[in-house]
Symmetry: C2
């Protein structure tokens, strides 16, 4: 049986899986990300774990199609990373180093792009060839799939949807240094910030007046009918709808897949986004559909496995 | 010798060319666009013209690789157009009809996308695989090339850069029905409008106070050092820079090629755009370069020819 490895490198843990060619999961597990000393142990740790699992499952090395890896940073088409703050890497030729460590063909991609590929292959985007996955987590990540392939871009920074400007009047800075990025309004922190700002100028009664307010609190309150929370959700929807309309101007997707922690609020998210998207989108793009992601934290290892399988086609 | 036809359909004329496989132009000419009766004569006229030229140049039909066509409308990946106001078409299966009329393989694309392909093949984008061409004409069109191929999109409306929102506060409507589209500020009419609005609230002396003010007048005045014209150019640059930064968020291009009537003002355009782009772009996208288009009105027939050649690879 042919198989491959899917690896999703995060700042805290590295998720890994063995997949059959059909996308069947043979095993999945996690190891710790050792970010010390510029993260020099990250790739050797992954290689050692791969080697162990081949023994444990009594697999033949010659049946391994390759290793796919998702990295939280821009990754060039050649598999090179020019710095990843989360892992401690500076310049790293991930593809070359990993091929030397494992002896297998290695494919590398940006983590948000790879997650989009995973959702297209085995998740909410099955059957699609043109889709955008947007991940509303601590930040906002996105992956753009064009004609079944990840849009990598000239500098490995294609599909950076969290940093599309949706508010040219903003004076507060995004983590990236610009002002008015989608991430400032549609990430977990972004939603909580929208709520805090509204509470400052609002006297109405609301369950949102509490310490350590989160995006989850906001959407829980929306479900309870809290008027202030509903206004915050509207604002979130306006920014996210405008941001996705801007991404559609380039990509013209058939489908948006919404994932990440904020999306755990469920279908209520879609209603706020889709309405505003339709209002802001170019007429030919209004037909795009919206669904919630379905693979959760496994999207990355699925996508990485798909990357490995596609590279040998 | 293998050859192909490149056809660029416009609302007034249809530009056509015969190209060798290497991109050599064997002949180029124009015919009139008959838009009467839903433009039913457009494709038969093109087919007749192709047939005539094969005879005139004594070409062998079996050496014809195919016909590429650019159309001023969204075109699906299957070569179908769902309405083109400029030509009078409603639904039209351009690929199928044209293959029946000519007996040759036919490839069809959106005109702005096809022009981008032309500039990449034989114009200012030679050697690039990831680029965006933006055409500043009566409207603003754009074509996005990813990994050497035109981004077509799920509904044939990929790369509609003229309709990215760069001003959420705008109350005037764009031709598309939305408010704040890049086209409202960076097209020929857009630049003239920016100037007219500035003159309304401005008392300074300027050569711009004249009837039928055009974008050319504005940039001519910029070259003469007219202070008001320079302010208009700055404003144009801010909107275009912001718009291109938004397109880069998805496409991460190595190069922007700027074409269309407004770009005839020359390198002065680039200085206003690039400065503002760098200010607005995500850090990984700041390295993109800017050049003026070099094929002028021929970009469409070159790109259409390339489309035909690529489709048989």
């Amino acid at each position: 049986m042919k198989y491959c490895f899917g690896v999703d490198i995060g700042g805290t843990t590295i998720k890994m899986g063995i997949f059959g060619e059909d996308g069947n999961v043979i095993d999945k597990w996690e190891i710790v990300t050792h970010t010390e000393e510029d993260g020099c142990q990250v790739l050797p740790d992954i290689a050692a774990s791969i080697s162990d699992k081949i023994k444990i499952h009594d697999l033949h090395r010659e049946d391994c199609v390759g290793v796919g890896i998702g990295v939280p940073a821009p990754v060039t088409a050649d598999g090179v990373v020019n710095g990843s703050a989360n892992i401690g890497w500076k310049y790293k030729d991930v593809k070359k180093e990993m091929e030397e460590l494992t002896g297998f063909p290695v494919s590398v991609g940006n983590d948000a792009n790879v997650a989009a590929l995973g959702e297209m292959w085995k998740g909410a985007g099955q059957g699609q060839k043109n889709m955008i996955m947007i991940t509303l987590g601590t930040g906002v990540g996105s992956g753009v799939i064009i004609d079944g392939k990840v849009l990598v871009g000239a500098h490995g920074a294609g599909g950076e949807g969290g940093h599309v400007c949706v508010n040219p009047n903003e004076t507060e800075k995004c983590g990236c240094g610009k002002c008015g990025c989608l991430e400032q309004y549609a990430s977990g922190n972004g939603v909580a910030n929208l709520a805090r700002k509204r509470l400052e100028k609002e006297n109405s009664e609301t369950v949102l007046r509490k310490a350590n307010l989160t995006a989850k609190d906001v959407f829980d309150a929306v479900k309870e009918g809290d008027a202030v929370a509903i206004e915050v959700a509207e604002e979130f929807g306006r920014y996210l709808g405008a941001g996705l309309a801007a991404l559609a101007v380039v990509a013209d997707p058939a489908l948006f897949v919404i994932g990440g922690g904020v999306s755990k609020a469920g279908p209520v998210i879609l209603s706020y986004v889709q309405k505003n998207y339709i209002e802001k989108a170019f007429f030919a793009h209004k037909k795009a559909e919206f669904v919630l992601a379905s693979l959760g934290n496994d999207a990355g290892i699925y996508g990485a496995a798909k990357l490995a399988l596609d590279s040998v086609k």
